[in-house]
Amino acid sequence: MNGERPGIARAVDAEPADAEPADAEPAAEAVGESRRQLTRDGLAIAAYALPVGLVYGLAALQAHFTLLDVVAASVVVLAGGSQFAAAGMVKAGAPWLAIVGVTLLINARHLLYSAAAAPYTIERPRKERAFMAHFLTDETFALSLAHFRRIGRFDRRGYWIAAMAIFIPWNVGSVIGYLAGGAVDTHRLGLDIAFPAAMAGLSLGMVSGRRDVAAALGAVVVAVPVGLAGGASVGLVAGAVFGPFFGLAVPASPMEESSNPETPEPSAEAGLP
């Protein structure tokens, strides 16, 4: 990011984004260069999202999803953390209400992404904004916001490059993981540990300060005894709901206090949508 923000409103007046005026050659060059950087960054994300998608496909297979369920989840929900969570909860026999509640909690952070993107998209038609919002994953946010800030305005093509950098490999990986997983003995190969390991890793990937650590540890402290007493799904929901209060009880670290709303969760680095 170069830190220059020439003015969102002025730049948006020049829409459509993909049709820069002929006398704006330097701006067009800047947009082109920023798109090339966006594409390079997107390819790096895609290279990582594909194998993580494989792990999700495998987790879904172990939870007895059908191939249609896997495809539907990866296309319609398009939120890796909650997809992993749902696979584990389905496998544990959790009620759908609990799964939906956990999904709501895990994906609530997207409110912050959408709020940060809103100033750039405000001039776009409402239907287009709604369609774009479906693809507003951690990676789409991280890639597209960096691009918008580089060029100082919204860029439709840039947004879709960012969105497809995660959407395509995540879906392809999910399907391949599901189909390939059925051909191997997952228990003997230790593949059944991939799901809880991925959850632990992803949780740590979201940690950016002591409050996150306290929330995660608090969730475990609550979830395990409640789960032993009342079942896995009850323990999970209890941990998810009450864990954040442990974080709120801890003073924020300097990094957390100065957190920028335009900064995505660190999970964007982990290869999950």
Binding site: Y48, P51, F65, T66, D69, A72, A73, V76, V77, G81, A86, V90, G93, W96, I99, V102, L104, I106, A108, R109, L111, L112, Y113, A115, T121, I122, R129, A133, H134, R188, L189, G190, A194, P196, A197, M199, A200, G201, L202, S203, L204, M206, D212, A216, L217, A219, A223, V224, G227, L228, A232, L236, G239, A240, G243, P244, G247, P266, A270, G271
Partner: protein, 108 residues
């Protein structure tokens, strides 16, 4: 034809899409109290940590009991690798290898 988990997928979308769309479609709705914003931010790691713990520390038997075996060790190893590298895949691969080797040796 059974719909399987499709209705669940739709419900998951129904609680995910508003978070992604509302601030873009209705500017101002994101002006939540700071404590609510912090709670929302902390909910992600909390939910995923609880999920990991339930899947490696508690059996799905009736009644549930604590897991004793290589699995929690492998998950902790994964967490340590992710904490160091900030990359998920190496940690998951390490956990799988640990469990596979332990089971091959009859220790898992």
């Amino acid at each position: 034809m059974s719909l399987g988990l499709i209705p669940l997928v739709v419900l998951m979308w129904a609680v995910t899409f508003p978070a992604r769309a509302l601030p873009m479609l209705a500017p101002g709705i994101d002006r939540l109290p700071p404590v609510a914003v912090t709670y929302l931010r902390l909910a992600g790691p909390a939910a995923l940590a609880a999920l990991a713990a339930m899947n490696c520390l508690v059996t799905d038997a009736t009644p549930p009991s604590l897991v004793v075996g290589i699995e929690p060790v492998a998950v902790v190893a994964c967490a340590l690798i992710v904490a160091r590298t900030r990359l998920l895949l190496p940690g998951v691969v390490a956990a799988v290898v640990i469990v596979a080797v332990a089971r091959a040796l009859g220790a898992g």
